[in-house]
Amino acid sequence: MQLETALITYLYAALFVVFSIAVYGVVIKPNILKKIIALSILGDTVNTIIILLGYRAIAKPLPPILPTLNPTKESIEYFFKTSVDPIPQVLVITAIVINMAVTALLAFLAIQVYRLYGTLDYRKVLKLRRWS
């Protein structure tokens, strides 16, 4: 195994560890607030993985923005041969905003649950629920 492959594998492994910790938090933790925190960590990890997939393994990769408004044919060719992939960035900006909206909505619901039941532990909430 080459050094580069080993480093990339290490990066993915680290991301996977964070990912499984986040899934653990969402599944196991009884506190709703901790579930929300774990969910946002989960989203950020996935976004990082997607961004990583769009990286270009060359010496000096450029951001996907053409640095001039009067490009020559050569500069356009140089640009699309050295820039990183814009598609993952486009997908991630969408995902980040949706993630924020979902987190805000979940936080509002959690606050409302705390107001109505006085606890954020979902087991206690289930016990306190009035069957009407």
Binding site: T9, Y12, D85, V97
Partner: protein, 270 residues
């Protein structure tokens, strides 16, 4: 609970080993390599190709060109989802009119020190300026509507923390205003999306295409590039996201006794 935890950790470590082995053998074929996917290369090549304008989006910023031109409908839907999420937040915290804190002074909380207040005044101006720059230059430099809106969202939050909610409302940043502005922003996006249909073009068409009669939105000159629809859509998106976050922060910072009263009365009524 304990057995569930142990089972989870066991499964996670097995999955971890599998992922490690697969990546080690190169399962993620396209993971950092010297070439990128052909779709990404196409967008990079065509987004500001002034020599062959068949596919161009008139914006040197490939990310925003893809967001509002190549994948425009997706972004419009996503804006709507954000709008609906904010409406959902408002619905969860709704008040039945008589408990609104209009005209009633909030009780004095702990005032922060002069240092914090002075610094937050300076930073408030800076944040507004930076958000405006990110939104208005989104089509030529890194940035865009979402980023600018998220940057702006910090400003009222900081004012609420350093001063009070009352001050933010005195500055004119009220819930009603934010509702109105973000609805206007969403309508603007919808209108811009539908304009090409009047000239028998496509929904969200930006520039002229040989197979439709729509002449395309104005591009502007090199000195003042507008990039067709990308500039106005970025500004509208900025308004939508900024005002959405403003609504969320204004509602979440209402004093707790307002909601306590509301919940108490509704429980007495049932």
């Amino acid at each position: 609970m304990r057995s569930v935890k142990i089972g989870f950790i066991l499964l996670a470590s097995i999955a971890f080993l599998l992922v490690l082995i697969f990546i080690g053998y190169g399962a993620l074929g396209f993971s950092p390599k010297e070439s990128i996917r052909s779709l990404g290369e196409f967008i990079l090549k065509e987004s500001y190709n002034i020599y062959d304008r068949k596919w161009w989006a008139a914006s040197p910023e490939a990310v925003n060109a893809a967001l509002w031109d190549y994948r425009g409908l997706d972004t419009v839907y996503e804006t709507t989802v954000f709008y609906l999420a904010v409406i959902g937040c408002v619905t969860v915290f709704r008040l039945s009119g008589k408990h609104e804190t209009k005209g009633k002074r909030e009780e004095k909380g702990y005032a922060l020190t002069v240092v914090v207040r002075t610094v937050s005044k300076i930073i408030f101006a800076a944040i507004i300026l930076i958000a405006a720059v990110i939104a208005l230059h989104g089509h030529v430099t890194p940035g865009g509507g979402f980023q600018a809106g998220s940057a702006f969202a910090i400003a009222p939050l900081m004012l609420i923390a350093a001063f009070s909610r009352e001050l933010v409302e005195k500055l004119g940043l009220k819930v009603e205003l934010s509702h109105a502005l973000k609805s206007v922003a969403l309508l603007t996006i919808a209108l811009i999306a539908l304009v090409p249909l009047a000239y028998s073009g496509f929904i969200l068409q930006n520039q002229f295409k040989p197979w439709s009669t729509f002449p395309g939105f104005p591009v502007g000159s090199t000195a003042a590039l507008i990039s067709g629809t990308i500039f106005p859509l970025n500004v509208a998106e900025f308004l939508n996201v900024a005002m959405g976050f403003l609504t969320i922060f204004l509602i979440i910072s209402l004093p707790e006794h307002v909601f306590k009263k509301e919940i108490g009365e509704s429980q007495h009524a049932t």
